[in-house]
Symmetry: C2
Subunit: 291 residues, 2 copies
Amino acid sequence: MSTDSLGIKKIWQVNGRIYGDLPPSDRGLAYGDGLFETMRFDRGQCALAAFHWTRLLSGCERLSIPLDRRRLLDDCQAFLANLGSHGCETSGLIKLIVTRGVGGRGYAPPTPSRSTLIWQWSPLPEESAENETGVALSVSPVRLAQQKLLAGLKHLNRLEYVLAADAAKAGAIPLLLDTDGFVVESLSHNIFFTREGQVITPQLVSCGVEGVLKQYALQKISPALNIPMREESVSLAQLMAADEVFIGNSVRGFWPVTLLASNSKSVRWPIGNVFREFHSTHQAFLKSTHG
Amino acid sequence: MSTDSLGIKKIWQVNGRIYGDLPPSDRGLAYGDGLFETMRFDRGQCALAAFHWTRLLSGCERLSIPLDRRRLLDDCQAFLANLGSHGCETSGLIKLIVTRGVGGRGYAPPTPSRSTLIWQWSPLPEESAENETGVALSVSPVRLAQQKLLAGLKHLNRLEYVLAADAAKAGAIPLLLDTDGFVVESLSHNIFFTREGQVITPQLVSCGVEGVLKQYALQKISPALNIPMREESVSLAQLMAADEVFIGNSVRGFWPVTLLASNSKSVRWPIGNVFREFHSTHQAFLKSTHG
């Protein structure tokens, strides 16, 4: 067992070795040449596991990082099996980083390459009341650059997000726009809003992270509730004119947005019925899987 | 002494410890939250050291990564002093990575933060003949996204460059354009061309790396040769209409460009006199410093 600077216990595994070392020449560090997933595990079960694995494997394919499902699942099982003997429960937040590994000539990837798999366990975050009280968003001064080749990927090139978090107003979650002013997501969450009974979420064609909870909402919640949902290009004005707004990610679930502030304007919303239905459907799913 | 997968000997130092470990929770790996320098050392002397330190420290300031000059120079001296006892010469390629260190809540930087300093030594690259034979450039299909907040920095978010290297045509160095089609640089080098006796290099306001050799050329070579040099916005057509073209970085020096190929067109140049003057001035400087 290891504790970090905040006294939070941590355990990690690098390429199958608990507390293994990462060589500083790993391309994940050198270039951010890799991907990550942050997953909620309850008693050894990963919430929305299939969606996490699908996103990760399709991201690896887009970046030509070799990783097969068998190695991924075996490595995960080995890590989970080790948690108990290191004083960690099998409930926790598990972060997986997959890098292209070591080697290559400068930026050029090595051929063949052997990807590095890094698992990190930390305790689940404290239960919080945001799903009942709602959250405030504030338009970030940091605009996301547009790169179609990387759009949607949960890759390791996250400096813009660090700058946005650093520039965030206290008590508000940054709302991220792209460099043309279109809505992308809120920091660490996808964003959803309703208009005339439909749920809309930004289409992530030039930047942003394709969230696992967003995919789950599109593929499972929307059909189950018979509430139509679609992805489209969204301006800030369209978001501000929404009937209700909420955000979500796979670790925390859905949170209603009750305030959105920009430099020139702010808008308030009550907590809406569509949010409540999405939230309770997700909660019921988690209970049915892990209950 | 350690050797990598290609059998090349390596030595590294993490926060003062030779062959030290990098915790996988370091923000350099997690988010690419850091900067790097790749420096040519000849018998313990770093070529263009003042330019490297200036770029690094100003990059740290722009990203609010704490690093003072004293710690940087002391850490460098300690690493150099250790090279001999680990069987390495004090001539070599030295790569320094500075990250924001460990900690913080997700993307939000920790306050205060303690930066991580990682030094890596590898042998100098083989002498090559490119400065006499010239090189070919090929317009990359990967366009660089535009983010003013990161433009010019030698930061760790380099996935676009990995993709460009991976997509490169054999025998040609990728020429990188931004998403609006303006010329930025060639992979791992800045680019220079002449028009009516002036040297022009792209202004890096929305992407690209501000090279140390480029700064040296602007501040020292151009005045010494009395050849005017300036930065401006450069279209591909303007580059193709140049009188002569060359590229350069601090490790390899200047290389003349003899061929530039795009999908629709290719242009050839002879090796020009301005290149020869820049190259010999730079060579003379290296000899005077280290000779």
